[in-house]
Symmetry: C2
């Protein structure tokens, strides 16, 4: 939390996107015999997955175990995992805004807030719990494409051919996300991350017109309740606009040098990232060299939260992830006040 | 060709990546009853597809009908289309450089050069024919992943865990690509494009170490035989390094504003691009507005070749593609000499 505020720290803090996941035997054990949705909606199990990953890895924050598209259910979308998320009734050209419910009662996501409370109880006081949600664009993409997409043809066609409907739909999503994140903070999260996992498929003009206003609206309303990490992946050319949308911390993916990315978003902002995730499939000396290169790029500037540039992947060796945590703690920077960098 | 050399032109020239493809009824007709590989290897049919697309659309250049991974066959890789390209014997950790043949005789790709000669005969003298090949990185990715990939885990793991083998393999690919492109130019192409369709999955440090030397080696050797368009997609942060690798023209994808991208690669270089391809699924007024925005970003500077930011897609309306050609010809810039922009 000090790094979020760009205050001096003893060493660079880190957590790892998707740190509680399939690559961990502890997770596989907890999840056994449950479908993914059953698991997400069971606060006891989701809390256990959250806590055990934090403990096993020794990272400096817990991240809520949940998934991005579940917030679409109370908006009227049918969600299934096959095993990736699939929407039964995608929102397409020809749909109207009345096909989507307004999220009046965020209590419909109560299982998530129950998980937050359970995790918070089991977590040491000095370890923050990070909540999260998909950004309006990324959730719109799930709802419109209906499943994984390579070219985002349905999403972009709706944007270009029905821009008013796009904005109505994105506003509705933005209002739901805002309520959802504030409720996570109220339930006990110290910080929340917005995942714009798919906005990298856009050029800057499209991002400015179709993404930025809705993302900005969410962040403006959530920030007074707790700090926001605004994470974008897939296109470094969008970083200045992503920073314009707001967030106490900007999450960087691995496609940009951390030093360059930090410059692009401005040194008056904390950043998170950005080790190439596939490096964790390599041997330990490579992991060490690459992690140090990320730390070097941060140059001891206050406000760096170490993370991968995207999530940890199934099949990765948990020992490599643990080794990364030790490397960052050992070689991380004891940073001074921001004023030393003025 | 004047635009390639940044000389004054009467209006912005254009061609369209994958202009001869499945979206065209003329292509479907020519291709009927043939597998994709049979079609590629039949110079009469491949030439007809090349020529008919050029004529139907009225674009300013023909692009050879061929596919990127076919050059892998004479290197010893088994190639099949299911319907995307699949390699029977992918190159992986544990493979040795002896598992890959050195391309001694480029005549093994003779069907491509026969196609070039046939197209050149059927093409008006003032219409250039563009040849092409995959860049060393993109071909290595095909050979290593063996099929489409989301995270390039095998590619990156081989890079990180066996860097010497990576460089040996990439050098071998670079030598084959060099011979292949020079032979295309010798057979009658006026220009060639290198497609780095997948390098956008890398960060700048990886690109500098693992991609740039091999790409540079190809371009240095091919350029004296004819101009090279160096096209990269997926990561605008790589553009300065892509320009460093060389090429008379740098191809820009849609993830960056053309004006910004041109600045990044330097105004002493021609650029190609970069309309968001999915715009062609929208209605004509949108296509017109967006095409004009790209032309505006070029600002009449000499050395702009209009293109999409990536290839045209199956299912697109051929009338929209034809309309784009007319829009660009009508609204394109009569450019002056480069010295006016000094």
């Amino acid at each position: 939390m000090k790094a979020v505020r760009r205050e001096p720290v003893d060493t660079t803090p880190l957590w790892i996107m998707r740190q509680a996941g399939r690559y961990l035997p502890e997770y596989q054990q907890i999840r056994k015999g449950k479908t993914f949705l059953e698991f997400c909606k069971n606060p006891d199990l989701a809390a256990e997955a959250t806590l055990s990953a934090r403990e096993v890895l020794g990272v400096d924050a817990a991240i809520l175990f949940a998934d991005l598209p579940t917030i679409l259910e109370p908006l009227g979308f049918g969600l299934d995992y096959q095993p990736g998320p699939v929407i039964d009734n995608p929102f397409r050209i020809g749909s109207t805004i009345d096909d989507v419910r307004e999220l009046e009662d965020v209590g419909e996501m109560g299982y998530v807030f129950d998980t937050v409370r359970k995790v918070r109880k089991g977590l040491p006081d000095d370890i923050p719990l990070i909540g999260f949600a998909g950004s309006p664009f990324t959730l719109a993409s799930y709802a419109i494409e209906g499943s994984g997409s390579k070219h985002y043809i349905h999403v972009k066609t709706l944007m270009y051919s029905a821009p008013e409907l796009w904005h109505e739909f994105s506003s509705r999503l933005a209002r739901a996300i805002t309520k959802y994140l504030i409720a996570q903070l109220n339930a006990g999260c110290q910080c929340v991350q917005l995942f714009d996992s798919w906005a990298g498929c856009l050029g800057p003009n499209d991002y400015r017109e179709f993404v930025l206003p809705h993302l900005k609206s969410v962040i403006e309303q959530v920030s007074p309740h707790g700090p926001v990490i605004n994470f974008l992946t897939g296109n470094p050319a969008l970083l200045p606009l992503c920073a314009e949308a707001g967030g106490e911390v900007i999450g960087l993916d691995w496609r940009v040098d951390l030093a360059d990315g930090w410059k692009m978003v401005g040194h008056d902002r904390a950043v998170q990232g950005n080790l190439e995730p596939v490096v964790l499939f390599a041997e330990l000396p490579t992991i060490e060299a690459r992690a140090k290169a990320v730390l070097d790029a941060a140059a001891g500037r206050p406000g760096h939260i170490f993370n991968l540039g995207h999530g940890v992947m199934p099949g990765m060796n948990p020992d490599h992830v643990k080794a990364l945590v030790e490397i960052v703690h050992e070689h991380g920077s004891k940073t001074n006040a921001a004023s030393d960098f003025a």
